[in-house]
């Protein structure tokens, strides 16, 4: 094991990575890649500053530790440091994706075959001008050792598949995709019906969608749109690193403050299976369920050891790094809106004129959040009506949280098949997101 320097905190994260990517365009195999590598990230803390190094030379880790230590100042009282004290110590092996559950055990031919099974569903349509099918998988075994005594081995795994297609009908153009992410290869099988349904919806949208009349509407967000909304508009604001150093923010974001409608609860939980599954974070902290909003009241926020110490709160297991090249920062895992008490039919039956956001291209969240819909529909007299083309839906985050007035019972947790969440330089981090259908009284639609 490593010789950790005295008077400093040190941890080492070694990543054993296996990954596959396959791309087929219009029936031609464009790229097939299967690779494995081992690399590490080292952190060292002297009570004042952190020092980091990333290396693909795992035999040289001790040298990296020593080099970082030479930049730091020995601190006899490091054990009294509030960050040091917060860091969890865990031990053991927690491997979930082994044997037949590991993507390493599935042949490349089987992975290519999966895409080949699906693409005929869309390839022969007269409206498809270009299609591309992608498969990825990523199995990461992390070994984490710290000078405080942590010694854990755990793993995460994602698989994802996308069939993207460019549609054309004369001058009308529309691009859409079928995405599916999961932890297990087996979950990507048997999706023919779902792909066909999505494809047919896209063709109908291509042919029939009309420009929306810009204005304010009651908007119903699908689980996909609601999940992205929860992630972008509130999840990022719950990442505590944004609060450090600003006393007035601590007052503004006081736990117990009313921030949303009383039917609204938002949770982040790294224990939930899916691409946000994070049994331990990259500081060796166990995953925890954290209510960000409970019944409209600010209930918690996401932490690394550093932010938990600064705000005198408990760890939540949200210090995550994109890969061995980066330090852990506060990130979400699986973030979702809890369900309510309505059926979908009940939810829309009360709307005279509104908009249903079914699928999304992307979303963003500052004080004003945005959702860029892919497929959206008018709601008229309580029924889903004609498809509409929308550039962007936007609203003020806090006004919107208070304007949520209906939730369906069923909650759907979704995954980004290929992409993920971006924060500063670290993109794309696998996360999960979701929720029920969510009704918002008024949003700006353009």
């Amino acid at each position: 094991m490593y010789k950790f320097p005295e008077g400093l905190y040190t941890d080492v994260r070694i990543e054993d990575v296996f990954q596959t990517s396959i791309q087929i365009t219009m029936g031609r195999l464009d790229d097939v890649k299967e690779k494995s590598y081992r690399a590490a990230f080292i952190r060292l803390y002297d009570g004042k500053r952190w020092f980091y190094a990333s290396t693909s030379d795992v035999d040289g880790i001790q040298g990296e530790i020593d080099a970082l230590a030479s930049m730091a100042s020995k601190n006899e009282n490091i054990e009294k440091d509030p960050i040091f004290k917060r860091l969890e110590v865990n031990e053991g092996e927690f491997l979930k994706f082994i044997g037949k559950d590991s993507v390493k055990e599935i042949s490349l031919n089987e992975k290519i075959g999966l895409l080949k099974e699906y693409y005929p569903i869309i390839a022969h349509s007269e409206h498809v001008k270009l299609w591309r099918a992608n498969y990825i998988d990523l199995n990461v075994k992390k070994s984490f050792y710290s000078s405080k005594g942590s010694n854990i081995v755990f793993d995460t795994q994602r698989v994802g598949m996308r069939i993207g297609f460019e549609l054309s009908d004369g001058e009308k153009k529309f691009a859409d995709r079928f995405d599916r992410g999961s932890n297990y290869f087996a979950s990507l099988k048997g999706l023919e019906k779902e792909i066909e349904t999505r494809f047919n919806k896209a063709v109908l949208f291509l042919k029939e969608a009309v420009d929306v009349k810009p204005g304010k509407y009651t908007v119903v967000l699908s689980p996909e749109a609601a999940g992205v909304f929860a992630h972008e508009s509130f999840g990022h604001k719950s990442e505590s690193d944004f609060m450090i150093g600003d006393e007035s923010m601590k007052e503004e974001w006081k736990i117990g403050k009313k921030v949303g409608s009383e039917i609204l609860s938002i949770v982040d939980d790294g224990n939930i299976m899916g691409t946000g599954y994070t049994p331990f974070d990259d500081e060796g902290t166990r995953a925890k369920e954290t209510y960000l909003i409970k019944n409209g009241i600010l209930a918690g926020r996401l932490h690394s050891a550093k932010t938990a110490a600064a705000l005198k709160e408990e760890l939540t297991g949200n210090a995550r790094a994109l890969n061995f090249e980066y330090e852990p920062i506060v990130r979400m895992t699986t973030t979702y809106i809890k369900g309510g008490d309505k059926s979908f039919e009940e939810l829309i039956s009360e709307i005279d004129e509104g908009v249903l956001i079914e699928t999304l291209k992307h979303g963003s969240g500052m004080s004003t959040f945005t959702l860029a819909p892919s497929m959206a529909y008018m709601i008229r007299n309580g029924k889903v009506a004609e498809p509409v083309k929308i550039s962007v839906v936007s609203g003020n985050v806090f006004e919107t949280l208070n304007e949520i007035d209906g939730l369906t019972k069923d909650v759907k947790i979704l995954e980004f098949a290929l992409g993920g969440c971006g924060k500063f330089e670290q993109f794309p981090l696998p996360v999960g997101f979701g929720g029920p259908y969510v009704r918002v009284k008024s949003l700006n639609v353009r």
Binding site: S168, F174, M249, S367
Partner: protein
């Protein structure tokens, strides 16, 4: 059999800034190597991190030919070039010390704000060699200072950003830029009448170019999924609108001067739209050959991927006027932060502008309320295109701005 070796080496010192002080320092030194073999119109690729065994990698690349990935193009041959450049800093300690001192000064001059994020000093080395006489080498060190700021007491995650990428460093100039933005931020202008305004974007902002990035993709264009499909040679935009695909330093690009297939274009640019006339989508060799399109040198992807069509940054040809001259005495709306907007499939564009400044062509006057802006692709770069200023916003690095008329309203 043709063998090609591609190497990417990144050495980076990243200074992480939190709450106006240096919170951490990160060193990164990573080498990625790929071997490609071309045989009978097929390509095999294998890659590895760190120290690699070239023989073993070559064997794997040969084995990868069994995947039967068709790649019916001629590898680049008989071309040798070597470009090396440096930023103002060579010494890492000097860089960390300077950032610490800069932060002390910024904190003194702007006590109402909290600054965070990163400053990096990055050296990227790229080389590509093959047994047809291709031998290209690029090594460049550039610096990036990207500070996000938040006014104390603001409920936002962050309120705005200030920064640049370049080769030069000048503390006074960076302070001047920071002060100008922060002072304008403090000057809140509440009154705003909806209407048509000249809207000013930093040329490097991608939001107003999103549709062109998508619709000029060689594959989408060639297969009919683009609004611009089939329109090569047609005048679609204003006479003064010229759009390049660029790998030129003058446009703020600090990566390799060649693409993943070893293609080098004249002046490291390629005009995709010239004087309003569509010349070409962006393409790699394979797409250009398959669809009989011009080859623009837009091959990219991961170091160990089969080269694919990727979007390199776009730049716009500057006019012979300054921003002030282009505005002709009008006040413009400078888009400092606009996030989340998009185009419809028909090319209609709308986005909220989270941080708009009133701008007179020379300086930021004050912070406007959050706005909505909207237009259409063909109007933005057609009848409503005003031009690209010949002046940079700061002397620290390439920072030209583009102006177009748009509909603007309060959120």
């Amino acid at each position: 059999m043709i063998k090609e070796k591609y190497v990417e080496k990144t050495s980076q010192l990243a200074v992480n800034i939190e709450n106006n002080r240096v919170e951490s320092v990160r060193r990164k030194d990573i080498t990625k190597t790929a071997i490609r073999v071309y045989s009978e119109n097929k390509l095999g690729v294998a890659g590895g991190l760190g120290k690699i065994d070239e023989e073993e990698l070559t064997e794997r690349a040969v084995k990868a030919l069994d995947f039967n990935i068709q790649y019916p193009v001629e590898p680049t041959s008989d071309l040798e070039m070597n470009i090396v450049y440096h930023a103002d800093f060579n010494d890492e300690n000097e860089f960390v010390n300077e950032i610490e001192e800069l932060l002390v000064e910024i904190s003194k001059e702007q006590p109402d704000f909290i600054f965070s994020n990163k400053a990096t000093l990055t050296t990227t080395e790229n080389s590509i060699k093959n047994n047809l006489g291709l031998n290209l080498f690029h090594s460049g060190t550039s610096l990036n200072i990207g500070l996000i700021f938040k006014r104390k007491g603001s409920g936002n995650i962050f309120d705005g950003m200030v920064g640049y990428s370049g080769l030069k460093y000048d503390r006074k100039e960076f302070l001047k830029l920071t002060n100008e933005i922060c002072e304008a931020f403090k000057n809140s202008i509440e009154e705003f009448n909806p209407g048509r305004y000249p809207v000013v974007f930093l040329q490097s902002d991608s939001i107003y170019l999103m549709k062109l990035y998508r619709d000029l993709h060689g594959l989408i264009f060639a297969t009919g999924g683009s609004l611009l499909s089939g329109k090569i040679g047609q005048k679609l935009f204003d006479e003064s609108f010229t759009l390049y695909q660029t790998r030129n330093h003058a446009d703020g690009f600090y990566g390799s001067f060649f693409d993943l297939e070893g293609t080098v274009t004249p002046e490291f640019r390629y005009p995709l739209i010239e004087n309003g006339i569509l010349r070409s989508p962006y393409t790699n060799k394979k797409t250009a050959k398959l669809f009989n399109l011009p080859h623009t040198g837009a091959a990219g992807g991961e170091y160990d991927s089969v080269p694919d069509v990727v979007a390199y940054p776009f730049s716009l040809k500057e006019s012979d006027k300054t921003l002030e001259e282009l505005l002709e005495g009008r006040k413009g709306i400078f888009v400092l932060v606009a996030s989340g907007g998009d185009f419809t499939p028909d090319g209609n564009f709308a986005t909220p502008v989270q941080l708009p400044f009133l701008f007179d062509g020379k300086k930021f006057i004050g912070r406007l309320p959050e706005l909505n802006i909207s237009s259409n692709l063909f109007d933005m770069f057609g009848k409503d295109f005003i031009g690209v200023g010949k002046d940079n916003l700061t002397s620290l690095g390439p920072s030209r701005a583009v102006i177009m008329e748009m509909e603007v309203s309060k959120i």
